[in-house]
């Protein structure tokens, strides 16, 4: 089973990378990019014995996010589960 965790900066938190990307796109002649924000996706491949009940898996991945994958001071996260 695969879980995909999207980690993004909280709204309002400065995103220097995003800012630079928007700027670079503009310099390359791509007009009309109002804003760019950069986040991470972490794809986890979970062993079958761990998988099973999606709610349990979700709770487990949520725990991973809070403990390691996201820095909740400045980031938020979203979990997608793949069958």
């Amino acid at each position: 089973m695969k879980a995909r965790v999207h980690v993004t900066l909280k709204p309002g938190v400065l995103d220097p990378q995003g800012k630079a990307i928007a700027h670079a796109l503009q310099a390359l002649g791509f007009d009309g990019v109002n804003e760019a924000r950069q986040g991470k996706v972490i794809e986890l491949d979970l062993a079958d014995d761990v998988a099973g009940d999606p709610e349990a898996v979700r709770a487990r991945v949520d725990d991973m996010c809070r403990k390691l994958l996201a820095n909740t001071v400045i980031e938020t996260y979203r979990i997608d589960l793949d069958a």
Binding site: V13, P16, I74
Partner: protein
């Protein structure tokens, strides 16, 4: 309009008395924006209300001091028309909450303090204190803080060349991150923050303002609780790339004569920068806040005044120079906006799309900020530890243990994450006593170091304060530099507790005494109070950053043993208090091998310190020593071992009593030097009773050992202990 209730006043960290003073100054109730401004201006962080009285007692002048405390950074003359500009600042609370960004923005902030004055930053240092190595949070904090310091400094392209690290359980809930920057500026082009010229434009440059760290300054002034950790206030995110552009743009503008005054936006952002500039100039200022470049929609005047967004500066320009300045900042892709002008009203008037949203008198607010004479009690004197009753662990066992102990183990894992060579002038990299950076294009050097031994300060704040200054002076001397001045970063607990205030007062006294005797004035500094968690204070930590100058890099000393067969001398041993004894109170021997952190710390005899240091420096300047290292944490045998490791050469020692006191006592004012064999007699004759020979260098590679009497320890075992500890803790 928001009604100002006592709750709102309290949330802004103002006491009822202080609020009464607000009412008195205004003659009316403040609105929320005004209250916010009072709150940050009168926070401990900006007003120094608890510490000012004592900071005034520090010596701050010398013929070579061009600018002492009171500006963004201190300035000292280093000859040839150049100056060194430097300061240290803490970012403790933010680094505990978000280690990477907290530490990174700490570096960014101190860099701005230095380049605001017209200097090009040439080096960074960092003084770090973490909790117990095995505390569950420590690893995460170390890796985040180190990555953050490196991430910022490396990207900006300023080498991080030195620092120090201590571990102690009393920092478990409150780490210290003190960052220092040293810059070089031409003596005739120093920029100050004093505004002048009614009508002159006030200009905002750098990054846009967002809702970053609103109330950061008030937070940094309040004690930490588990709850405040939960609240997770918005932490500022650093943008080192923008900072690099800002440095280059400022340098470019500073080469013209467009700038009247300049001030970075640090804690309390736009509020404190505009207040300080106007207040120093005795002027007023009118700002149209709607012109401030904003990152987010819907920002309010309150937020704009309190935001701590990074990488921003405020300047007063010569009239008519706006287009010139704007062209430079646009070239570097930075925001530029004329947001107001200076007035003769002595007031700060803020408008928002034409409406006045705040109108405050500047002087009463900036200068009549509260100043407290807080009650204090002196720290009780500790008994002197009798060396005779200290358990004796054989030195062959004690030495490897000490070399691999948390406070003595190599910090290589840390400094290898810092680009310590960029700019191509790092002549002494981390690992020695002081880092040395060549003054670009010359053959002279700037030496720099940070020092403090918190366990000494806790046991005896006066002596510990002296020791911190003396050790910094000694580390500069050990590379052959002439010490010039210091910056201090006073990290303490809650000053409302008399015993904590007593630590502060004692440390200031010790600092002042040492600075005076050593001719080593304080030119800048920073105070961080309320470093407590759940009522428990950190060990008092007055970190000292010292800077000195080396007249010729050909006459510089390093710690590494250079060749086999050279004489090893100890210089300055006359302070040993008792026959055959050494000072074990508060020593690492006592802590690491006897598990006791007790006793009075080693006394610092300042006259002796000076005499010994001057003699050692004379030897170095005359090219008569081949290596030099001061004796500090861990004592004599540790100092010798560090020199052996650096040179990959062993040592055979003689004439030393095989007692913990003689080998590991931490008596102050001592250096170990090596001298080629044919010159020992002459050097010993010149130094007289100040020096004695304790051994000979020798044995290379796998055969290298530290030998004393019949016993020896392989250098390889010491290296393993020394280099292995930190990577072991960090799991890599």
């Amino acid at each position: 309009m928001t009604e100002i209730t006592p709750e709102i006043v309290a949330e802004h960290g103002l006491s009822p008395d202080e609020y009464d003073r607000v009412l008195e100054i205004l003659g009316r109730e403040p609105n929320l924006t005004e209250l916010g401004i009072f709150s940050v201006m009168w926070s401990e962080h900006c007003s120094y209300k608890s510490s000012k009285k004592w900071l005034k007692t520090l010596p701050t002048s010398a013929p070579w001091v061009i600018q002492g405390p009171g500006e963004n950074a201190g300035v000292v003359d280093i000859g040839d028309g150049l100056t060194a500009v430097f300061k240290m600042e803490s970012h403790n609370h933010p680094s505990f909450i978000e280690p990477y960004q907290g530490a990174a923005t700490g570096v960014g902030g101190i860099l701005r303090d230095v380049f605001t004055m017209g200097a090009r930053p040439v080096a960074n240092l960092n003084a770090l204190r973490f909790g117990a190595p095995d505390h569950p949070k420590t690893r995460h904090l170390i890796s985040g803080v180190v990555a953050g310091i490196g991430g910022y400094g490396n990207c900006v392209g300023v080498p991080t060349v030195g620092g120090e690290v201590n571990f102690h359980p009393d920092y478990n809930g409150n780490i210290l991150v003190n960052a220092m920057t040293v810059g070089i500026a031409p003596a005739d082009r120093i920029f100050y923050s004093k505004a002048s010229g009614v009508g002159n434009p006030v200009v905002y440059v750098g990054s846009k303002t967002g809702r970053d760290g609103i109330h950061g300054a008030t937070m940094a002034s309040a004690e930490f609780t588990a709850e405040s950790e939960e609240k997770r206030p918005t932490v500022q995110v650093g943008d080192p790339f923008t900072e690099k552009l800002l440095i280059e743009a400022c340098q470019e503008l500073m080469a013209t004569d467009a700038i009247v005054a300049i001030q970075d936006m640090g804690a309390a952002g736009l509020t404190s920068s505009s207040f300080e500039m106007a207040s120093k100039g005795g002027l007023g200022v009118a700002l149209a806040l709607d012109r401030v470049p904003m990152r987010e929609a819907g920002m309010t005047p309150y937020e704009l005044m309190l935001s701590e967004s990074q990488e921003r500066m405020l300047m007063v320009l010569e009239p008519g120079k706006e287009p010139l300045a704007e062209a430079i900042f646009r070239k570097w892709d930075l925001d530029f906006a004329v947001i107001g002008h200076l007035t003769d009203t002595g007031r700060m008037v803020l408008t928002w799309h034409g409406d006045t949203v705040a109108d405050l008198p500047i002087d009463p607010l900036a200068e009549a900020a509260p100043e407290y004479d807080r009650p204090w009690t002196p720290t009780p004197t500790q008994a002197v530890v009798d060396a005779a009753v200290v358990p004796e662990v054989p030195w062959t066992e004690a030495l490897p243990t000490l070399m691999g102990s948390p406070d003595l183990a190599s910090r290589r894992w840390i400094w290898e994450q810092y680009d310590h060579m960029v700019m191509g002038d790092t002549v002494q990299r981390p690992g020695g006593d002081a880092a040395v950076v060549r003054i670009h294009g010359t053959d002279r050097g700037l030496a720099m170091t940070t020092d403090c031994t918190p366990r000494y300060v806790r046991a005896d704040p006066v002596m510990g304060g002296r020791q911190a200054v003396a050790e910094a002076w000694r580390n500069l001397t050990a590379v052959g530099a002439r010490p010039l001045a210091v910056t201090d970063n006073m990290n303490f607990g809650n000053p409302e507790k008399p015993e904590i205030m007593g630590q502060f007062v004692g440390a200031c006294q010790g600092l002042a005494e040492a600075c005076r005797v050593l001719d080593f004035p304080v030119v800048s500094g920073n105070v961080s109070l309320y470093n407590e968690t759940e009522g428990r204070a950190i060990p008092p930590t007055p970190t000292i950053g010292g800077v000195g100058v080396i007249a010729s890099l050909d006459r510089m000393a390093t710690v590494a043993f250079k060749a086999p067969g050279e004489a090893i001398l100890v210089v300055g041993e006359t302070t040993v208090p008792r026959e055959g004894g050494g000072w074990l109170g508060q020593s690492l021997y006592l802590r690491e091998l006897c598990n006791r952190e007790v006793g009075a710390p080693p006394p610092v005899d300042l006259e002796h310190e000076r005499a010994v240091g001057d003699a050692v420096r004379d030897l170095i300047e005359a090219g008569r020593v081949s290596a030099c290292h001061d004796v500090s944490d861990g004592g004599l045998l540790v100092a010798v071992s560090e020199m052996a490791l650096a040179g990959d050469l062993g040592a055979t020692l003689e004439g030393l009593a095989e007692t913990p006191a003689a080998l590991f006592g931490e008596d102050q004012g001592r250096y170990v030097v090596t001298v080629p064999a044919d010159q020992v007699e002459a050097v010993l004759a010149d130094l007289g009773p100040l020096a004695r020979r304790i051994g000979t260098t020798g044995g290379a590679g796998a055969a290298a050992t530290i030998t004393l009497g019949d016993a020896s320890v392989p250098l390889s075992a010491l290296r393993e202990a020394h280099e292995g500890w930190l990577p072991g803790v960090m799991g890599a």
